[in-house]
Structures are given as C-alpha cells and as structure tokens.
C-alpha cells in the first residue's frame, strides 16, 4: 500500500488537485510535460466573467 498520490498534468486542474491533497497532508508527485507548471491558464491574460488576472 502507498499513501502517495500521482497527479499527471500541472495545469490549473492538476495544481488545484495537488494543493488540496497536500493540504490534507498527503504526499503528491506531480508530472508535467513542459519545463514549467501553469498550463494553458498561464497563457491567458485575464479570465471571465470578472476580468481578473490569470495565474
């Protein structure tokens, strides 16, 4: 048995899942294909419907 979780993908969904798991005290391994996490959302300037800045 292992108590770790593997999160595949470091976009907004992967980051949120990993942070939630870490908050619960669970060891998370994140795998990301690109050199930086952030995914598509990092490419966005602002987000709807509030026009808040993205990541």
């Amino acid at each position: 048995m292992s108590n770790d979780v593997l999160v595949i993908g470091g976009g907004i969904a992967g980051i949120q899942a990993a942070l939630d798991l870490a908050e619960m005290g669970i060891q998370v391994h994140m795998v990301e294909r690109l050199p930086s996490i952030g995914g598509k959302m990092a490419q966005l300037d602002k987000t709807f419907p509030t026009n808040d800045c993205a990541i």
């Binding site: 108590n3 979780v5 976009g11 969904a13 899942a17 050199p35 598509k40 026009n51």
Partner: protein
C-alpha cells in the same frame, strides 16, 4: 509516463524525468544565460508570435524558476557545434550539458489525471485561411497579443505588421551589408556605381569578373532600396487593430471535425473583446455565432455588459469564408440570418474561437493506464461518478475529460483530490 502496473492502493509507475541540461538545485534563475545565448527559437508560450532563446524559462513567472535548454535547438547539444556560452556566463555553474534523462520509480495509492486539452488547429479548415491570411489568428494567439507580458506588450499590433517589422529589420541588415560592399568597390575603382550599372545594362562593360560582380551588387542594392521604400510606406500607413471579428465554433459543433460544443469559447471571445476595448476604447468587435452560450453564473450579465459598454455586436450567422483584400485586411463572408442575405464585411483582425480537443498524449496515457476514452478522445467517465475513469483508483478532472471553463476545472480538481484522498488517507486504512 513510461510504465504503469499494480492496482488501486498500490500502483507502480515509472516516470521519465527529462534532462533540463541545467542543475535545478544550482540555477538561480538570473537569466544571464538566456541573455547571451546566440540561438533564437520560436516561442511556443507566446503562441509562435515571438522568439525566445535556446536556453529559456517557459514563461517569465514559470515555476520552477529555473532555466532549461531546448536541446534540439541548442548549438552545442542539438547541432554539434562549439558554443558553451551559457555555461561560461553562468555564475552558479548550473549548466550541465551531460545531464541525462532519469527514470523515477513511484509507488502511489491513487492517480489524478489532469492532462488538459489542446487547441484545435484551424489550418485544416481551408475556407478560413488561417495559414494563408496573416491577420487571422486563434483566440489563444490573440490572448498573447492582449497580454501586457506578451510579444506586443498588450498593443493590438496586427500580425501582418509584426511580420513587416521583422522583414524590414532583415532587409535593413542586408542593406547595410550590400552598401558596405558597394562602397568598398567604389573606393577601390574610384568610380560611382551608377556608371558601372549603366555600362552593364548597355552591354559595354569590359569582361571582368570583379566589375560584373560590382554591377550585380549595385543592382541588388537598388532593388533592395526600392523594396525598403515600399515597406516604409506600408509601415507609415499601418494602424493597430480596431475592428475585430470573432468567429465562434471553429472546429466545434462541426461534424467534419468535432461534433461537441467546446463550452468556454463563447465567453472567451466576449472576454477578449472586452479586454481589447478596455485597452483601446476605439475597438469595435463583432462576434459571429450560431448562438451565444452564456450558461455560467454571471455569464449572461457579462455578455450584456459587453454589448452595452464594450462596443460588441453579436451577429447570428455562421461564417462561410474569409478572404483578404489588398491592404491585408481580412474580409468575412457570412449569411445574415436577420435579413436573409449573404453579406461581407472587412475587418482589421479576425479571431478564430478554436475548439478544445483532447491533448495529443491522451491516447497513449489511456493505453498505459488501461482506461477508456470516450468517442471524442477525452477520458471516459460515468455521469453518476463524473471523476472516475474506467479503472478504480484513477481519477480524471478538468479538460482531460471534456471541454470546461476554469471554475469548473478547479471544482472538479478539488473533487478529484478528495476522491484520491479517500483511497490513501490513513484513517480509511485504519478502519478498512
């Protein structure tokens, strides 16, 4: 991902950690290497609209804040040339050309797949001219144009003008080189080039390789100057994009490509039109759609606000074709369903709201994990267990399971985290 075995509670996963060629424990992220790197590469993060160096950070705020060498583009690693500039300037001694990929063995109790999506490539729709007409861009490219940290620092410069500036830079470099060569020849022979060109054209030039070469160079210089002149005139009349057209459902709800609705693009286009208007109040946008789907909380109000405050016009009609006029303005041909006529209108810039399609690695990942994909290529889930894949202990959230917007992705991610925690949380094991 290399290999997966085991079952819920105890999966064994082999992960290949790709070489960065930079020691991430030593790199301080100072950027001296990228400043001095001689190789320019097209910047994927800026949707191909800008350039970066071969040693790079994916984007300025990228985490982890360390540099990576793009081995294929690097002179030293990919092209076998002598370079080593980045290693020389790195004070932290972090550059390591001998770094190798490493295989990491993990044992995990549960897996969350959050591999996201890919943007549909609109060049397969010939009538929209994406690869022919420079001023037709995708929504993601437009996002980079709008961004203050993007290639145009947020100004709505048109791609045709960006290309012109680049072309002019190259032409000016070439011009300097030719001018230097020609003036050297003029000095050497003590004659003006015009005399030689005239003699060459009338066929009275003595049969001398040096003189012939001079005449050809001088001719090239003259034609380059004429080209630079016309480019300068074009640049003088160039203006920023103020009249925008957004085309919805590009590759979505289209049975030739993807039958499904990509769900976020309607609001994405409204947002881009609003941000563009915020940046420059002279911007007018037209959104061409079959219907505008504003189903989330606050979305309908957002759409109406766009129409009232941000000069957005919503036009019901599917665009049939995009052509280009002589000034490189895209012309949009569509059927107006209000007055039942085929009409056309000229714009400064056309933005294609491209579909959300499965990420290219999804099929391979599904094979490794032995989970099913749905008929569109996203990870298959059950309507009553929307985070479960077909394999126990493997969950999926966000656009990996289908198109959705950011709030929905975040909500699903938290749910998937909770489901994964149910499996690995020590309390559960104590009871079980």
């Amino acid at each position: 991902m290399e290999q997966v075995s085991g079952e819920v509670g105890a999966f064994q996963v082999a992960v290949r950690k790709k070489a960065r060629y930079v020691n991430e424990n030593l790199c301080t992220g100072c950027g001296a290497c990228a400043e001095k790197c001689p190789t320019m590469v097209v910047d994927v993060f800026n949707a191909g609209l800008g350039n970066r160096k071969a040693i790079y950070k994916y984007f300025p705020q990228g985490i982890p804040s360390v540099f990576t060498i793009d081995a294929a583009a690097c002179r030293q690693l990919g092209q076998g040339k002598k370079c080593g500039v980045c290693a020389k300037v790195c004070q932290a001694k972090a550059v390591d050309y001998d770094q190798k990929d490493t295989l990491i063995q993990l044992e995990v109790g549960a897996v969350v797949i959050a591999t996201g999506y890919e943007v549909f490539d609109p060049s397969v729709i010939p009538e929209y001219g994406y690869d022919r007409i420079p001023n037709v861009v995708t929504a993601l490219e437009f996002e980079r144009l709008l961004s203050a940290s993007g290639p145009t620092a947020g100004h709505l410069d048109r791609p045709s003008e960006l290309a012109l500036v680049k072309e002019m830079e190259e032409a000016e470099k070439e011009h300097k080189k030719l001018q230097r060569q020609v003036s050297q020849l003029e000095e050497k022979h003590g004659k003006p080039s015009s005399e030689i060109v005239a003699a060459f054209q009338s066929g009275t030039l003595p049969d001398d390789a040096d003189l012939r070469n001079w005449a050809l160079l001088a001719q090239d210089l003259a034609s380059l100057e004429a080209r630079l002149d016309s480019m300068n005139r074009r640049k003088a009349t160039a203006s920023v994009a103020r009249k925008l057209a957004f085309i919805q459902c590009v590759g979505s709800r289209d049975f030739r490509f993807n039958p499904f609705c990509s769900s976020y693009c309607c609001m994405h286009s409204v947002k881009e039109a609003m941000i563009a208007h915020e940046h420059d109040n002279g911007v007018h946008s037209s959104i061409f759609c079959m219907d505008l789907r504003a189903v989330g909380r606050g979305f309908e109000e957002y759409k109406l606000r766009g129409g009232k405050q941000a000069n957005i016009r919503y036009i019901r009609g599917r665009v049939a074709e995009i052509t280009q006029d002589e000034a490189l303005n895209p012309v949009v041909w569509y059927e107006s369903t209000q007055n039942r006529q085929v009409v056309h209108e000229t714009f400064d810039l056309v933005i294609l709201a491209t579909a959300c399609v499965p990420s290219p690695g999804a099929a391979e990942l599904a094979r490794q994990f032995q989970v099913e994909l749905d008929r569109n290529g996203f990870f298959k889930t059950d309507p009553l267990a929307p985070l479960n894949t077909s394999r126990p202990g493997v969950f999926v959230c966000g656009c990996a399971q289908g198109p959705m917007d950011i709030p929905e992705s975040v909500a699903q991610a938290s749910s998937a985290a909770a489901r994964a925690a149910e499996i690995v949380a020590p309390a559960r094991q104590a009871v079980g």
